[in-house]
């Protein structure tokens, strides 16, 4: 067996353990719950839930038939059904094409499929530094980008590529 080089050993990064979405508990289509839900496992909701849901580092799935009005805190959240409320996720929020979601999302990552019905606000971890560049009106000088003299709309217009 070949021996690992020092370089390989030095630069091996520990991989973050993904949160499994396999549900430990399913709230069925004909179940209605009003109140708080707190758990240490993955949960799928196909029924109706109103209240607050806390799943710490676990996965919450609002299934295709799920009707949820709740404040949600979880590791990851997948929405395929109807959800009104605010989501705070440690990692990722996934909104599928069948979802009807209204509320706020705070998470590290997000995935939204085309076709999802959304009225939402989204806050993710930001990455880029603030730059000192501004858009000037056509009659102002100092257009400060690498753009090749784009013309103002009042004039002839500019050609893209």
């Amino acid at each position: 067996m070949l021996k690992k080089s020092r370089r390989e050993e030095t630069y091996t990064e520990p991989k973050a353990r993904p949160i499994s979405s396999q549900p430990d508990t399913i709230i069925g289509e004909n179940v209605f719950i009003e109140g708080n839900i707190r758990g240490e496992g993955n949960l799928m909701i196909e029924g109706t839930v109103k209240g607050k849901i806390e799943l710490a580092r676990h996965h919450l799935t609002v299934g295709l038939n799920g009707q949820v009005e709740a404040e949600i805190q979880a590791g990851e959240v997948t929405v395929s059904g109807h959800l009104i409320g605010n989501i705070t996720a440690l990692d990722k929020v996934t909104i599928t094409r069948t979802a009807d979601f209204s509320g706020e999302i705070r998470s590290k990552r997000i995935s939204v499929e085309d076709g999802a019905m959304l009225k939402a606000s989204i806050e993710l971890e930001r990455e880029s530094p603030v730059k000192d560049v501004s858009i000037k009106r056509p009659n102002e000088s100092g257009f400060s980008t690498s753009q090749k003299e784009p013309l103002s709309l009042a004039g002839k217009g500019a050609k893209g590529e």
Binding site: I110, I122, S152, G157, G160
Partner: protein, 202 residues
Amino acid sequence: MRSHTARLRESQANEPRRSRYTSHALRLFTEHLENQTDAQLLDVGPVCGENLEFFARRVKRVFVCDMFLRLDLARRKERTQNQAWQDLDYPPNSFDGITLWALFDYLDDQGISALVARCSYMIRPSGILLAVVQDEHHIVDPGIQSYVIAEDFDVFRRPQPHLSLPSQRRHNRALLGMVEPFIPLKSFIYRGGIKELLLQHK
């Protein structure tokens, strides 16, 4: 689990290269937003995960209210457009920027008036609208497409077969006459008749 980059590469691989372009308006719009403190952006659709993530990494908060879906729903249920516009119920001076990907192309004159009035109410002073419209002479209508942001401000189009709205092509001057109280800052024209407009609130 596939990463955002992997999904982006996959979707781009299926996209004809010729329909991609580097968006100058997007770059300027983004720089404007990044230059604001705690900037807030509104995207009125079509909902596109790549775009939401792109902006959410760069501004304080991204709001999304897909008007394409709402207008389509109103049309299918034979309701008036007024009900759809009521969903744009954000407080005044909420946003530093609003993206109007292709929406002007699917609104009649009354719809544009309603949209511009809402945008004027919701946008902050000196806030910017980014609008993309199809040139009136390019009459090929492949249906509603989203404008998907890729790397380095490249943009490509992706069909949205679940949406159906009648398209409305109009002359540039006609459109600009309808967007008061916004004034044109920049415009860019690309192959295929794609036009980008940056409009600033007076």
